[in-house]
């Protein structure tokens, strides 16, 4: 027997009133998120609304964030609890109810699946020129600090540092690095201007590379779909407390900054986070067809050569709209193009839970179909009672 307090808690958790309230709140949240998307962009909205427990709103002009609404994780979580509690307390497993059971089991899987996708799915893009070979994709939004030993012309030794360490100005040490690094300044978004007079100003601590001659100006972080943030940092390099120098790194800079230390040549770059594949991808051909006499796109397609590191795969694949390549847990899609059709942009997605929504939706569809067929039969059977017109036929 459950203690009374616990029982009443489970009862209210299992109540259908709670279900209705949660569904209405979800509806409002989805609507607000849709409207906010114009300002925040699709990623900003996902972070603020769907992949959060509490939605905060900044009071204009004060910078104070106040909690205003439950977020997607919280609503989804309570809905999950509500469903489970209802099935433990109210629903009996009977044939008559099997439609409801299936629908709810599917929904539980769907909620779990969406939660997992939010946690596990990694999106990146592969920007590749015709003739180029690449074995990595770059993140859309995440960056990293790459420290590269380029002394040996045959290969590069790369140490990739997560951006959090730069952001929090932590001292960065690594067995492969004969020095330590620390960001003295970090701007999530900045502009860089070349100084009109090459005079060293006291606010610029940079001693090595192009950063010595520029002015860095922090600017507000943007979430607009067509704008990009340009994180920029000053990295101080020390070897046993002796300063080696300070280097400016920024995603705005196209090439890495080079310096030499103890006879080895190093490069430092703030760049989009890279994910390496077990395959090399070469873009053989990119085609972009339009309907005759118009600019309307008819087809984009990238013909690539895929060579796996283990040597078992070496083949040609055509990736086009609605026809992705699935390989080694990755799905590669045709996403766009630029540079006068000489560069193809492919989207690379890794989502180990991608099959879950398919299963969940299959079960839900079956459940709804059974449930409503039962209703329909009931409706048709009861109908003759209400039918019949008053006027003579």
């Amino acid at each position: 027997m459950l203690p009374p307090f616990f029982k009443s808690l489970v009862d209210s958790l299992a109540s259908i009133r709670l279900t209705v309230a949660l569904l209405v709140l979800s509806l409002l949240m989805v609507f607000a998120a849709t409207l906010d998307q114009v300002y925040l962009g699709v990623w900003g909205v996902q972070e603020k609304y769907f992949h959060s427990f509490i939605i905060y709103h900044v009071i204009p002009g004060t910078g104070i964030a106040v909690p205003v609404f439950p977020g997607g994780y919280l609503l989804g979580g309570i809905l999950l609890a509500n469903l489970l509690a209802a099935h433990f307390t109210r629903f009996r497993l009977k044939w008559k109810n099997c439609g409801i059971w299936l629908t709810h089991i599917g929904l539980i899987l769907l909620l779990i699946g969406e939660g997992l996708s939010g946690l596990l799915q990694k999106d990146s893009h592969l920007r590749i020129d015709v003739g180029q070979t690449k074995r990595y994709a770059e993140s859309f939004r995440d960056n990293e600090l790459a420290v590269i030993d380029v002394t040996d012309p045959k290969f590069d030794e790369v140490v990739a540092v997560p951006l959090e360490l730069v952001r929090e100005r932590t001292v960065i040490q690594h067995p492969k690095l004969p020095f330590v690094l620390r960001a003295t300044t970090y701007f999530p978004n900045a502009t860089i201007r070349v100084r009109s007079t090459p005079v060293k100003s006291p606010d610029n601590p940079v001693t090595l590379g192009v950063g010595t001659d520029v002015a860095v100006q922090p600017v507000p972080v943007t979430n607009k779909p067509k704008e990009t943030n340009w994180p920029t940092a000053f990295i101080e390099i020390k070897d046993a407390d002796a300063a080696v120098g300070t280097i400016m790194v920024s995603t705005l800079l196209e090439s890495p900054q080079t310096f030499t230390h103890r006879g080895r040549t190093w490069q430092l770059a703030l760049r989009a986070k890279r994910t390496y594949f077990p395959v090399a991808i070469t873009l053989l051909k990119f085609t972009h067809e339009v309907y005759p006499g118009t600019q309307l796109p008819k087809d984009f397609a990238s013909t690539i050569r895929l060579q796996s590191d283990d040597g078992h795969d070496d083949r040609q694949v055509r990736i086009f709209m609605n026809s992705p390549l699935r390989y080694a847990g990755l799905a590669i899609y045709q996403a766009g193009f630029e540079n006068n059709d000489n560069t193809s942009i492919l989207q690379v997605v890794r989502n180990p839970s991608w099959t879950l929504p398919y299963i969940a939706c299959g079960i839900m569809t079956l459940g709804l179909a059974i449930q409503f067929l039962i209703h329909l039969l009931g409706y048709v059977r009861r109908r003759p009672l209400a039918a019949g017109r008053t006027a003579p036929a």
Partner: protein
């Protein structure tokens, strides 16, 4: 006698429909129909000149009727012939629509200068063209969603003027009175080469079909450049040029012979395309959706009057007329599918047709099950409303447009788009049935207990149906997105809209099962479903963000706002205490 009346009305409606299939008489002896059937390539697809004429007029002035300054009513083909062959005359016709007063003032015009206050002739606008170019440049620098109404109007007018101007280069060079002489011999062709090149680059329409030497459709200009290089002039170019001269001279006999020989030659050359083109022109003339719209109005009036009087005769008439309109829209949708080789829903326009079709189909079934002319009234109202929406959507261009690469998948268009659209239909139907319940209950004495219960059962059943279809449609959309963009769910506005419909229908059902609402509550919530669906269907396209915003419409915003307001008023009706209702439906 009374029993035969509905059949008699149906017969009259059928006769009226048959009349739309009769070809119109010749215009001053000219066989414009044969000319209008001729296929050309425009907007990436082969279509008859008839469609070019009608769509251009709809785009430029929101209607097909043209009245010359002399007061003569021109058919669309006649207008297009004038524009192509005697542009100086066509420039005096008032067919360019300008609504925005500030845009008019750029031309030093007021609405008093225009036909109907809004339509102006090219000659009236000519002096202001450099200014409109400059204004369009200024407005083009502003991001599309941020443009003011004035900037939107300027950009739109600029596009219309470009279209108008470029149409003139289709079959000959405007402002070149000696055009026929340029085709006289090899030397003349060579001399006029730059003129042909200009025609080739300006023309939007490719009039010369693929032949022995090329696989592609070419513009008249392009074919003439080839001729200047020494190949023989394509016969289509020559017959069009001769038809132009016959049109200007008023030589109907010659024009007709030329049109018929051209049609015969193209039929021999491209039998399948010419057939399609002829059928499309026939479809344009018959305008089945317009006839259906009228039938729905009559059916709706019959249905609501049947609640007051002559319920049997009017009820059955409403049912027959609605069934006829439904059959007609079915044929219309099927013809469009055949012309496009696509599933029924490919763009916003066809979604409007299909939402109406689905809702009316459901109503016909409901009306068979439960003959109270209630489903009939709701169906006729939705059928009419969606066709009005479709008409307004058709004003923005070709409704049989080609599909962008992302959407180019007949499988997903047939499954995801169709099921989602059926979900829209059902949600709207539930909302309209609920509207009938409330309006009849509050304002009339006709809502008796059995009718009320019957309606409540219908609404409940339709909400179940709507939840089922919108859920499956949304899921199929997720699968399509996963197949083509790499994520099952991206929180894109259109996806969110579909999800909102699913959630709302689930809210209605759970509130009902939990005993939180009874009949009145069910009706109020179902009407709110109309708002959610309208948002998902049109509102999300107005945000201008997301992968799905291909269906952007900028003038529909006001329509959406007034629809939402009207639905909010109806929901307020549900709050009227039962004692104030004119129908005595006890505490529900």
């Amino acid at each position: 006698m009374n029993r035969r009346l509905p059949t008699l009305f149906l017969g009259i409606a059928l006769l009226a429909l048959a009349a739309t299939l009769v070809p119109p008489g010749q215009h001053r002896g000219f066989d414009l129909q044969t000319w209008g059937n001729l296929p050309v390539l425009a907007d990436g697809r082969v279509k008859p000149l008839d469609t070019v004429a009608r769509n251009s007029l709809l785009l430029l002035q929101n209607r097909q009727k043209v009245v010359t300054p002399a007061g003569i009513v021109l058919p669309p083909h006649g207008w297009l012939l004038d524009l192509l062959f005697q542009p100086a005359v066509a420039d005096t016709y008032q067919i360019l629509r300008i609504d925005h007063a500030d845009v008019l003032s750029l031309f030093n015009l007021t609405s008093a200068d225009g036909a109907g206050g809004v339509r102006f002739a090219f000659t009236q606008l000519r002096a202001g063209l450099p200014e409109i170019d400059r204004q369009a440049q200024l407005a083009a620098d502003v991001e599309a969603p941020l443009r003011s109404l004035f900037q939107q109007a300027v950009i739109q007018l600029h596009q219309h003027l470009m279209l108008y101007d470029r149409l003139k280069f289709t079959l000959q060079a405007p402002d070149q009175p000696g055009f026929p002489a340029m085709l006289a011999d090899a030397q003349a062709l060579k001399t006029a080469r730059t003129v042909f090149e200009a025609m080739d680059s300006f023309s939007l329409i490719r009039t010369v079909p693929p032949g022995a030497d090329t696989k592609e459709w070419r513009t008249t200009g392009g074919a003439l450049v080839a001729a200047a290089n020494g190949t023989p002039i394509d016969p289509t170019v020559l017959t069009h040029e001769a038809m132009g001269r016959a049109w200007i001279a008023g030589d109907a006999a010659n024009f007709n012979t030329l049109a018929q020989t051209t049609a015969a030659r193209l039929t021999a050359q491209l039998p399948a395309l010419t057939r399609k083109s002829t059928i499309e022109a026939w479809f344009n003339r018959a305008a089945p959706f317009y006839s259906s719209q009228l039938l729905y109005v009559v059916a709706f009036l019959c249905a609501i009057f049947s609640w007051l009087r002559w319920s049997d005769v009017l009820g059955r008439t409403a049912f027959y007329l609605m069934a006829l309109a439904f059959a007609l829209t079915t044929v219309g949708i099927l013809v469009r599918m055949w012309l496009e080789s696509r599933p029924p829903v490919t763009n916003l326009y066809s979604s409007a047709l299909f939402v109406g079709w689905g809702a009316v189909g459901l109503c016909l079934i409901l009306e068979r099950l439960d003959r109270h002319a209630v489903a009939g009234a709701a169906g006729a109202l939705i059928g009419f409303g969606t066709l009005v929406i479709a008409h307004h959507l058709s004003l923005s261009g070709d409704t049989l447009e080609m599909m962008r690469a992302v959407l180019d998948s007949n499988f997903w268009l047939a499954t995801h788009v169709v099921t989602v659209t059926v979900g829209y239909s059902a949600t709207f139907l539930a909302g309209f049935l609920a509207t009938i319940y409330l309006v009849r209950g509050v304002f009339t004495r006709t809502l008796d207990r059995p009718t009320a219960d019957g309606l409540a059962r219908m609404v409940y059943g339709i909400v179940c149906f709507a939840l089922f279809f919108s859920f499956i449609g949304t899921v199929l959309g997720g699968i399509w997105a996963d197949q083509s963009w790499g994520r099952f769910w991206g929180w894109d506005p259109k996806e969110n809209g579909a999800l909102m419909i699913v959630i709302w229908n689930a809210v209605i059902l759970h509130a009902r099962w939990g005993g939180l609402i009874r009949q009145r509550g069910l009706m109020a919530l179902s009407i709110f479903g109309n708002i959610v669906t309208a948002w998902s269907w049109f509102g999300t396209n107005m945000l201008g963000v997301g992968l799905h915003s291909y269906g952007f419409t900028n003038s529909a915003f006001l329509g959406l706002v007034s629809f939402v307001a009207s639905q909010a008023l109806l929901i307020a009706l549900a709050a009227v205490p039962a004692t104030r209702w004119r129908s005595r439906v006890e505490a529900v």
